[in-house]
Amino acid sequence: MPPNRTPRWAVALVVAGVAVAFADSSIVVLALPDLYTRFHTTITGVSWVLTAYNLAVAVTALALVVFVHRMRGATLFAVGLLLFAGASVACSAATSAAFLISARCVQGAGAALLLAASLPVLTALTGSTLRGATIWTLAGTFGAALGPALGGVLTQAFGWRAIFVVQAPLALLGLFAAIAVRDVPAADETVAPARAQRIPPNVCIGLLFGALVGVLFLSVLLIVTVWGYSPIGGAAIVSVLPAATLAARPVERRLPPSAAAYGGAALLGLGLIALALLPYAGVGFTIGALTACGIGLGLSIPVLSHAALDLGADLSRSGALTIAVRHVGLVLALASIAPLLAAEVSPAGDKAELRATAVLLDAPVSLSTKIPVALDARTEFARAQTGEIPNLARPFDAHGAKHDPTLARVRDTLVDAIKDTITRAFRSSFLLCASFAAAALGVAFLFRRRGIVA
């Protein structure tokens, strides 16, 4: 199809599908407390709602590397959309955590199909491999950054099920785009692909997506579960991420590719170090750090994606490979950070409990209030040890904090002390994510002579 007859609506529908499929990696993060409450599960259990999707995308995309070039892009895209839409409906109707996690696996498989097939579909719609790949890359980068904010808004406005309800019609609308390119034959990808030169940019992308776990998951977890922001409040804070990613686009276009890749990875790493060194539980520094991360993402991922994609004979397979690598990066980072965070948060909880008691004992309230509140607060802390979310306002409210401004002030001071302590417990995990970004920078630098992104 010649470029001057590009049906823009069809391109827009494919872009929406790609962005949503990438956003789904992190879209439920802000809904995790709601899911946790709804399904009476553990924090580990509810975390599988995230991991299952990314794992399914990674596994399916890896399998697609073998045979995606033998299939018609439009057909595969349509199958992916149908699977994704059906699984989204199933997710929205889930009545148990196990069912939701199973549906998320199917949704992930559908996402991998539609993401891999969307590359040849966009190429057919725009009439240019380069233009198709550029649109695909930008949609994917922006979608990944948008996930938490979008999920937070939907959760707050309509409940967690809305996250999945909204996705189904969006995916089904993409079927019209598949129909628009139904006559385009399968790509001729019979030439032996030059995979070796795609390895360094893919390794960089995998490492950067590993680093993104700090931004897309850890920071959101911190804001919502530790600092206690509502989903919409959390969404407002993390919305700086997609905004910064978008704002970086004009700079990225004018920068030499290698400078964009190095600079983007460095900014992402610095943003993660800034998140690790947050001096207290406050929003100001967090927004600054997330902005750096968003710009870093917007600078580095598009140029690395172009380097990872073979715009000639191996478009579909190189596309499937880079999709797999991104999600392998996410899953491996999640798997390595989860135990680290658990190991840090548990002793931090003990420390926070002692600090909370210290605040109480020094507070200007009567002994007959402070001692029972301290013991009741310990019961709340014990809930966290069994995987529940403690409600530290409860013991205070039970002793009259709602009507006693002095006790309410003590409660707020105590909660701040606890938030500060738990915030510091995230430090090692953020630094581990920053080390992924540093490793990506190192890989890019090591392979600079092979023109990794030039």
């Binding site: 600079g263 610095l270 605040v359 002994l367 007959s368």
Partner: protein
């Protein structure tokens, strides 16, 4: 007007991110955090005047003494008062009562408790249940008042 060169923008962004980290380090050093004090060391007494403040000073000082004897913090000891901690009820009772008696004597010497009342308060501390002593400011107030 010429647009700034993209490399200049990138360098400015990297400098800004580094400055953000430096600012966090500075604020981190100056930010006041709650510290768990060593119970064996003298600390600033609970502020205020009147009976309530006096009772709090005596009880908190007594808890400090008891925690020092158990080589733990005052906070850890308080969290063990319901018998769910690492010490049994007998041990806690013995050290807390001992700590409170010492604190009453100190308060008597400092003039925080009138000298005439000290024997009365000591007798009360010797016999009242521990939780009532630690939580029961009202009863002590009745006694002192």
């Amino acid at each position: 007007m010429n647009r700034p060169r993209p490399v200049v923008i990138l360098v400015a962004l990297l400098v800004a991110a580094t400055a953000l980290i430096a600012a966090e380090l500075v604020v981190g050093v100056t930010h006041k955090t709650v510290k768990i004090a060593d119970p064996c060391e003298q600390r600033t007494p609970f502020p205020g005047r009147g009976v309530d403040a006096t009772i709090q000073r005596v009880v908190l000082d007594g808890l400090d003494g008891a925690a020092c004897r158990l080589h733990t913090s005052r906070e850890q000891l308080v969290l063990s008062l319901d018998g769910k901690g690492r010490w049994n009820a007998h041990t806690i009772e013995a050290v807390v009562r001992g700590g409170l008696l010492r604190a009453v004597d100190d308060a008597g010497r400092n003039g925080d408790i009138p000298g005439l009342l000290v024997p009365l308060v000591r007798r009360f501390v010797e016999h009242a249940p521990i939780r009532a002593l630690v939580e029961g400011g009202i009863r002590l107030r009745d006694l002192i008042g």
